[in-house]
């Protein structure tokens, strides 16, 4: 094991998979000569050359569609979107083409492609650059959606995503790129659709993924000081969702909080709440509590932005509500 940033863990995954499979290529805005808008692809152009690492014009619909067409023809493209906010322009190709071609052709076509880039709010980027999209993409059958929360998970899951035969939406985070974590040495992959217990506990289950995972763990630390022992479950992939690991944890703890940085209506937490209430109704002593961002476009001023986003104190409050504990 060694300590790596999220950015370098992703870079290793890309480098290893570009080396492993000549049918893979990385395409996106600034991925080559600029070394990546967030330096995730640093050094890859120099190492793998311009055939494998391609700078695209600012044409999200066009180059995402190019990737989908190349995947349809049997290549394994990795398409970087500078942020998922910009991929709204490419949603037609992801949703209408990539997600549906295997089904519409009754299996004759496949679309082995990864769409990856940062998701969610960073800091003071205002409304158009501060949005969460995992619920949108997970809504569509035909897509797989991965939102890793640690550098080790990011590397292992990105490698799996690149090898996967289906279209995969892979969501990172601007803020997390510089965060560090222990990453195994050598070759490893992590299966899609398998969650991970990031902290064991007995009193309440907290489900969180992506950047919210750290908030959940910080909240759990604060609660531990008050004698409340939380279990933090990281599904790691949103679709397919590891329902079993969530349900098993709630069956053990009897309480559930879902933490999500995104908006409260029609989000991933709503789906998880439904799964938990159906499977764990008999053990729940209170409703599933959802902790989310405020239901507003993200404001710019840091004072307002802080109020619009959940933090570890929101987690503490959510868990206490779920456990009927007075603050």
């Amino acid at each position: 094991m060694r300590e790596l940033t999220f950015r370098d863990a992703l870079n290793e995954a890309l480098d290893e998979e570009l080396t492993r499979d000549p049918d893979t290529f990385l395409m996106g805005e600034e991925v080559g000569a600029y070394n990546g808008a967030y330096k995730v692809s640093r050094g890859l152009l120099d190492k793998h050359g311009p055939k494998r690492v391609i700078d695209s014009p600012i044409s999200e619909l066009g180059f995402v569609g190019l990737g989908v067409g190349a995947a349809m023809a049997g290549l394994k493209p990795i398409v970087e979107v500078m942020t998922w906010n910009f991929a709204i322009l490419a949603m037609d190709q992801i949703v209408n083409t990539a997600a549906k071609m295997h089904y519409m052709s009754a299996g004759a076509l496949t679309c082995p492609i990864v769409f990856r880039g940062p998701n969610g709010a960073a800091s003071s980027l205002a409304a158009q650059h501060s949005q969460w999209f995992e619920a949108q993409y997970a809504y569509f059958p035909g897509l797989k959606v991965i939102v890793p929360g640690t550098p080790a998970d990011a590397k292992g899951l990105l490698k799996t995503a690149i090898r996967d035969p289906d279209p995969v939406v892979f969501m990172e985070s601007e803020t997390m790129y510089s965060w560090k974590g222990m990453v195994p040495d050598g070759e490893y992959t992590i299966p899609i659709g398998v969650g991970d217990i990031k902290r064991e506990g007995t009193d309440c289950t907290i489900v969180a993924w992506g950047k919210a995972l750290k908030i959940a763990l910080d909240g759990a630390e604060l609660l531990a000081k008050e004698g409340i022992n939380c279990e933090v479950v990281d599904p790691r992939t949103i679709r397919p969702l590891d329902e079993t690991i969530i349900v098993n944890s709630v069956m053990k703890t009897g309480a559930c909080v879902v933490l999500e940085e995104g908006w409260p209506y029609f989000n991933v937490g709503a789906q998880i709440s439904d799964i938990v209430q159906l499977a764990c109704f008999d053990v729940l002593d209170s409703p599933v509590i959802r902790v989310t961002g405020a239901d507003v476009p993200m404001p710019y001023a840091k004072t307002l932005e802080a109020l619009a986003r959940p933090d570890e104190t929101s987690v503490v409050a959510g868990v206490k509500t779920a456990l009927n504990v007075r603050s």
């Binding site: 180059f63 035909g142 397919p240």
Partner: protein, 338 residues
């Protein structure tokens, strides 16, 4: 426009000319029977007929190799037939039967024949253009000599997808031929109402690539234009935008009575019908005798009739397993087919 010279088409051998005529008749009769089967409610959903535009697909196919990629939108019955897919599995797909080219999962707008390199069959206007850029990019990536032909209508060129894809196709010199079938109406809207520039081929100048014009009611003129573009693409000289001026005799889809245009206009266009034109050429070139052409026409009637019988007698896809099949190559088991 000056009358085409048929430069390259003059070199087509007799059997090629006869085959082109056979395909024209097949496409026409197939679509006529589709209209009938739609009226009988054997075919459902949206159904866009190719009647009037046959010369485009037939002339194009004569200039392509079997391993070239062909990608289209939803007015693609004629194009998949011209690719060589037998009429039976195409008609069966329109009927929604399990013997269809997409096993009843696609229908009229989503036809595929991957062994023959027909890659759909796409339902969002213009969205197939970036896909074609992608297959052409794959050819360039692999260094094979395959060319991609992408069909779209004149209304699709107002989508951003067209502009984005053509810019990248030109930038990276991919082996693609972008064939705009200009039938003058995007659903009910005439091109004069939707487009500042009504000569679609001129848009090529924005990308620094050749913009060609061809009479899309003339099979041999289409062959000439596509052959030239394919030779350029195969030589590594990059993409071509080819405007094929054509006309659909029927409405946009089976539910469109096409009241936005006059009877006179349609009658006028019918005078340019590609079938008698090609028939006369075949006879003039002594590529076949009158009796042989009559025999071909009779055989096509039988083949299309047989395709309807095949579709009618084929089983429906059945069962909840089939509903959930083909969502993922590797579903892993979570969240599916519970």
């Amino acid at each position: 426009m000056a009358k085409p010279s048929y430069g390259l088409a003059e070199k087509l051998d007799r059997s090629a000319l006869v085959e082109m005529y056979r395909q024209l008749v097949l496409l026409r009769r197939f679509e006529e029977r589709c209209a009938q089967q739609y009226a009988l409610q054997k075919i459902a959903g949206f159904c866009h007929l190719y009647i009037g535009q046959e010369a485009v697909a037939v002339g194009t196919e004569a200039a392509l190799n079997p391993d070239d990629y062909v990608i289209s939108a939803y007015r693609e019955h004629g194009q998949i037939l011209a690719r060589g897919t037998p009429p039976g599995p195409v008609m069966a797909e329109l009927f929604g039967k399990v013997t269809g080219v997409a096993q009843g999962k696609g229908g009229s707008m989503h036809l595929y024949d991957i062994p023959r390199n027909f890659y759909g069959g796409w339902g969002i206007v213009g969205a197939q253009i970036p896909l074609a850029l992608g297959t052409a990019y794959a050819s360039k990536y692999r260094g094979d000599k395959r060319v991609t032909v992408c069909y779209f209508g004149e209304a699709a060129v107002n989508q951003g997808a067209f502009h984005e894809a053509l810019n990248m196709a030109a930038l990276w010199k991919v082996p693609a031929i972008f064939i705009c079938e200009n039938n003058r109406y995007g659903m009910g809207t005439p091109i004069e109402v939707s487009s500042a520039l009504t000569d679609v081929y001129k848009r090529a100048s924005a990308y620094g690539i050749p913009g060609e014009y061809a009479d899309g009611m003339d099979t041999l003129a289409m062959y000439d234009a596509v052959k030239k573009a394919a030779d350029r693409a195969r030589a590594g000289e990059g993409p071509t935008l080819l405007e094929a001026r054509t006309y659909r005799y029927r409405g946009h889809s089976m539910s469109d009575p096409a009241v936005y245009r006059t009877r006179e206009e349609v009658d006028d266009e019918r005078k340019n019908d590609p079938l008698p034109k090609m028939r006369a050429w075949v006879l003039a070139k002594k590529a076949a005798k009158e009796a042989e052409l009559v025999a071909i026409e009779e055989q096509i009637e039988k083949d299309v009739e047989e395709s309807i019988r095949f579709a009618e007698e084929s089983p429906w896809p059945e069962g909840i397993e089939e509903v959930y099949k083909h969502v993922y190559v590797d579903p892993i088991g979570h969240g599916e087919a519970k």
